[in-house]
Symmetry: C2
Subunit: 361 residues, 2 copies
């Protein structure tokens, strides 16, 4: 079986690492061959080789939404693309994703779509506090603006926006789930996510479900999904609102690499290759701490790994700069509180008092 992965980031890199056990051949494609996922693939391709890449793969998937369209379209035409074009198309435009979720009855925050700053100014009195998100802009908090009492922040650029009512949530949460070619679904237990400056800093599983699993189950079926999905929620007064979904393995699912019976990455590889996806078992509370914007040397690696129940994934990215995720630490403990305690010790080692320096824009 030859698996083709569009995108060469850490998600593809871990997909290959976790899928290797099955004896598969992995192709990967991106702008150039130096990406982590291409380095560890059996064969790396550049985007202009998209036809050969697809022809040489039995199935093609993506580890990121913003990959070269030619790859996705050609793979789709060849009937090889999983989980398919619809989820990517929805993710390429936040307004489409929001409208899709709302129309299909999934709980979301109140929102409107605005074509201009003037448009926002005309309707913003609906919400005391709102978040305007560029419909096509990136992720990790990029292209997002808080609007309080109708005041448009200075410097906010002209763009098309989804303007959502600000949710003062109690918890941000994720559910990682998988669906195989026969429609069987499997769910990792929900995690609590802790963000800083719009980026996932750490998370811990398990947490209470609050009905999230049922929502994700419907979403998987509605999308006729094959593979692994990550769905982010806001939990407010015990009620989940879908924030967004990622039609791929997700940073908030990296905790499944340690303390689980199967990782999100292996679930994805199994599902898209027509193998069964088992219901994951969480052996022990488990979380991750992202390593963002900083190098770690041998001494720091030793100090991190001297904390019991930790593993480090170092992505081997070419350049290290603020807000760039360059690795993560997996952490297990007997209790979810124990995981958070260890994460706090690890944050001390990794960031000291300088966390904000590593997250500046």
């Amino acid at each position: 079986m030859k698996i083709g992965i569009a995108g060469g980031g850490q998600l593809g890199w871990m997909m290959i690492n976790q899928g290797r056990k099955l004896g598969y051949h992995f192709n990967a494609i991106d702008r150039d061959l130096d990406y982590p996922g291409l380095r560890d693939a059996d064969r790396g391709f550049r985007y202009d080789q998209y036809r050969e890449f697809v022809d040489e793969s039995d199935v093609v998937t993506y580890e990121f939404e913003h990959v070269d369209d030619r790859v996705l379209e050609y793979a789709d035409r060849q009937g090889k693309l999983l989980p398919g074009m619809e989820p990517v198309m929805l993710k390429r435009d936040r307004s489409k994703e929001k409208i899709f979720l709302q129309r299909n009855g999934f709980p979301v925050a109140r929102f409107f779509v605005a074509d201009s700053i003037d448009h926002i100014a005309g309707e913003i009195d609906r919400f005391h506090k709102a978040v305007a998100k560029s419909t096509t802009g990136g992720y990790d908090g990029k292209g997002q603006y808080i609007i309080t009492d109708g005041k448009i922040p200075p410097g906010m650029p002209e763009d098309r926006y989804v303007v959502e009512e600000f949710v003062a949530y109690d918890t941000e949460a994720s559910v990682i789930a998988s669906r195989d070619v026969d429609g069987r679904k499997a769910f990792h237990l929900a995690s609590k996510n802790v963000n800083s400056k719009g980026m996932l800093l750490y998370n811990v599983a398990p947490m209470d479900d609050f009905g999230m699993r049922e929502i994700v189950s419907s979403l998987l079926d509605r999308l006729h999904y094959v593979g692994t999905i990550g769905v982010e929620f806001f939990i407010k007064n015990g009620r989940p609102l879908v924030n967004e979904f990622s039609p791929r393995v997700h940073n908030s699912g990296h905790h499944t690499l340690l303390g689980s019976s199967i990782s999100q990455f292996e679930q994805h590889v199994r599902a898209i290759s027509g193998l069964p996806v088992p219901e994951p078992q969480l052996f022990v509370p488990s979380g991750i701490l992202n390593i963002i914007g900083r190098e770690i040397d041998h001494d720091m690696m030793s100090r991190i790994l001297a904390v019991q129940g930790t593993q480090v994934y170092w992505y081997g990215k070419a350049g290290i700069r603020p807000r760039r995720k360059v690795g993560h630490v997996n952490v297990v403990s007997g209790t979810a509180e124990g995981v958070e305690e260890k994460i706090r010790s690890l944050m001390e080692i990794l960031y000291g008092e300088r966390l904000e320096d590593f997250l500046i824009y």
Copy 2:
């Protein structure tokens, strides 16, 4: 950090797979580049490139005792070889290993060393039943002969032998342990091993320790060992006898890939690269079933993975023949008995009534 692995078999392949998370560069060397471990290395070398292989590696280890001497000797001279020459030299000659164990006070079965069949015939009356093992012959039951009531089996070749009193053991067991550069030791819980025709068929952890850990601890110190070791025991009436040790990761330690806080492979990579080795935690009873001498197709893979709590490692070896280990299945369950039950179902899927066909010499 650049890790050099001498030997390109599945043990090196899994070492690379498990060590990748640390962001290391892996070199591997063997007779030709088609071995599983060389295929997945960042760079593969042939034995005649041994100098370049060693020069390009910060530390050199071995995944098998019977690798080209030039690699080991040159790496040792460069001060790069871990866990060093002594363990390999002891393993190259069973008589040296046995005498070493006995002289250092480790419990072993009664034995004598014989230079010829005549020599055996002259001393065999010490033992009602004995096993003669070629001092230099291979592993997995090769070069071994049972001698009962002094009767030399017909066809037993002239060779140098270790002749051991046959131990009608209650259980064969293994302990996998690791020691870091500072002498700190860490132990995986013991496993019960079940052999068939001299080969490990399956095993299950945990089992009672019977003092094995203390023996392994002394052995690690005596060898000034750095890395992961596998030690096999016979348990008879609650007393452990050392059968043999393997100065490397070991087939009976593959269960550590699932249900443990760290695998034997990652422990080894950490230890030889100067990182701490944590005390492993076994989250849940865990075992493996070896896949020996047979291909598995997509349908069989599906049937195996449809059993909850299983993972398959398929080594991707070039040729499949009887007695060749070509993969294994990891299995977890709530109890050790549950693991054995699942293993029996998996044996039915893999071998049906024909197990012996896959194990014939």
